[in-house]
Every structure is written in C-alpha cells, then in structure tokens.
C-alpha cells in the first residue's frame, strides 16, 4: 500500500462519520438512482467494516464530506476524462472529498444483463476511489483493490490484506474486524 504525499487523512471527532452525497446534475440515467445508491452503500460498507469510520448518505451535496458525480471530458478540475475506457474515474486525497466517474463508460451493476465488452463494474471502481478518498494511493499488489487498473467486465470489490493494513494504519482498526475472517475470505477467493 502507499499514501499520498504528507499522508493526509480525515481528522474528525471520534466516532468518525463521513457524509456523502450524489450530484443532482451529474449522474447517469441508465442505472436507477436507487441502484447506484445501493452499490455505493456496499462499497462504503466494505471500508467501514475494517476501520472505525462510518459513512452516511445525505441530501445536501455541497456540504457533504464526499461528493460523487459523473462527468464528461474536461469538467473543470484539471484532470479531463478521455472517453470510453482509458481513465475510468479519479478521486482526491483527504480532506477534499471529490469522487468523479467518467460518464462515457458503460457502467454496470450486473454483467448478466449488461453484455457490452466495455462494461465496467461500478462497485469495483467505487470501492477503489473511496480508498483514495480515505488517503490510500495506488498499490503495486495486483490483487489489491487499490491496484490502479481494472479490466472491463471484471469485478474486484473485496479488500485484500494490503488494502486493510494501509487504511488501518491511517484510522485504526474497527473493533468488530477480525484478521482471521479476512484471511479466510482471501483464501476462499483464491480457491483455497
């Protein structure tokens, strides 16, 4: 795992709750808002299960800690998106909170119904970008969620030991987290 320069992290009173909201104007319309919210809730829950930080969706976008939206090409933050595939998304280090997804991608929450060869799993990318929001940079471990690349039609949503160790060094350990359950799940995903 790696951190951003200066190892920034969110600093708030304990127990820490970070709020998140979706942009009213910068969304995709072929996945329902309900479904998008469900996917992000799962993605946030994965990180919340390993650190003593919780995430709460709020209505007010401007005042939310984490602000999520889909954008085309140059969208004003100096990091323009590039059309289909290429760059999929980006997010900013703590405590900025912006999480941007490329509106040109074919986002999917279910590869059974979305047959495009270019389809990109929304939950995998959301989980990765939330890692950046929390302060993790890219990992060189291919299996880690924080590895920078993701092939179309692939799913990578389970945090690996590298991800967990990195984020726990920033925020501490969720009292309900057990290393054995993580190792067990890593083992089963590796086919034992």
């Amino acid at each position: 795992f790696a951190y951003f320069y200066g190892k920034p992290r969110w600093v708030k009173e304990s127990p820490m709750t970070l709020t998140y909201a979706f942009s009213a104007n910068n969304m995709i319309d072929y996945i329902s808002l309900e479904e998008i919210k469900r996917v992000f809730k799962h993605a946030f829950a994965r990180w919340a299960s390993v650190i003593p930080v919780s995430f709460m969706e709020v209505e007010y976008y401007q005042s939310a800690n984490i602000r999520i939206g889909w954008y085309h090409r140059d969208h004003g933050d100096g990091e323009p998106f590039d059309g289909v595939l290429g760059v999929l998304a980006h997010a900013f280090s703590p405590e900025n909170g912006r999480l941007h997804l490329d509106a040109a991608e074919t986002w999917s929450v279910d590869f059974e119904t979305v047959k495009s060869r270019e389809a990109v799993d929304l939950e995998s990318v959301a989980t990765h970008e939330i890692g950046h929001i929390l302060g993790l940079a890219h990992s060189s471990i291919k299996e880690a969620v924080m590895y920078p690349s993701l092939s179309p039609r692939s799913v990578k949503v389970d945090l690996k030991l590298d991800d967990v160790e990195g984020v726990q060094a920033l925020y501490g350990t969720n009292p309900n987290f057990t290393l054995s359950s993580l190792l067990e799940s890593e083992n089963s995903s590796n086919g034992g």
């Binding site: 920034p8 290429g86 998304a89 495009s116 060869r117 890219h138 060189s140 993701l150 179309p152 692939s154």
Partner: protein, 120 residues
C-alpha cells in the same frame, strides 16, 4: 500482432455515440518489444502516458525515440505496477499500460500532483 485479452474486441461504441474510443492507448500494442535506441512513430504518446501517471517529467517536446529516460520510466512503471522490472516493453507491460485504469498518478509522493490537494 499483439492484442491483450483485456482489450480484445473493443471495436464498437455501444453506449454513447458522442464519445470516441480511447484509441491512443489501444494503439500502444504496436510498441511491443521495441527497445532502447529505436525510433517509432507515435512513441511520444507513450511518453505522454508515462508523464501523465508520474513516470516522466512534463515537457512539450516528447520525441519518438526510445531513449534512456523512457527506459527508466518503464522500469519505474513496472516496479510500481508489480511487473517484472526489465525496462523493456514486454507483453505484460504493454498489456497493463493498455488496461483501463484510475486517473490518479501512481507516484504518490510527487508533490506537484494536482490531485494531492486538500481543502483549507
């Protein structure tokens, strides 16, 4: 001709007709096994890619020559991405470069990275 599995078949835009494909990265397959000292048209685009993700310093004058700086950048990229560090554009390296990815730079400790801003 080298075509990585992850990119195979990406030829039609099925979702949004206003967005062209990211043809630049798709074209990097032709650099497979190109070595230091070679000059290949379009190599400057690969240098721009490596610059964008933090492996080469920014300049307005990238050449099409596979020079010493590019070799060092390829080595750094391979190290960052968990690939065999060869300094060569082998198939694993080209395949990884062509894969869709997060837009954040890989060199986390670059103080000039625009995305390393904090709110004050």
């Amino acid at each position: 001709r080298f075509i990585p599995d992850s990119i195979t078949g990406i030829t039609t835009d099925t979702h949004n007709v206003t967005d062209a494909h990211n043809v630049t990265w798709h074209d990097f397959g032709r650099f497979l096994d190109v070595g230091r000292g070679s000059e290949v048209s379009g190599m400057s685009e690969l240098k721009k890619y490596l610059c964008r993700f933090g492996y080469l310093p920014s300049t307005n004058n990238f050449t099409d020559v596979f020079d010493k700086e590019l070799e060092s950048a390829v080595r750094a990229y391979q190290s960052s991405l968990g690939l065999s560090v060869t300094g060569k554009l082998d198939s694993d390296t080209i395949s990884t470069i062509m894969s869709p990815r997060c837009g954040l730079r890989d060199t986390a400790h670059n103080t000039t990275d625009k995305l390393h801003v904090t709110r004050h």
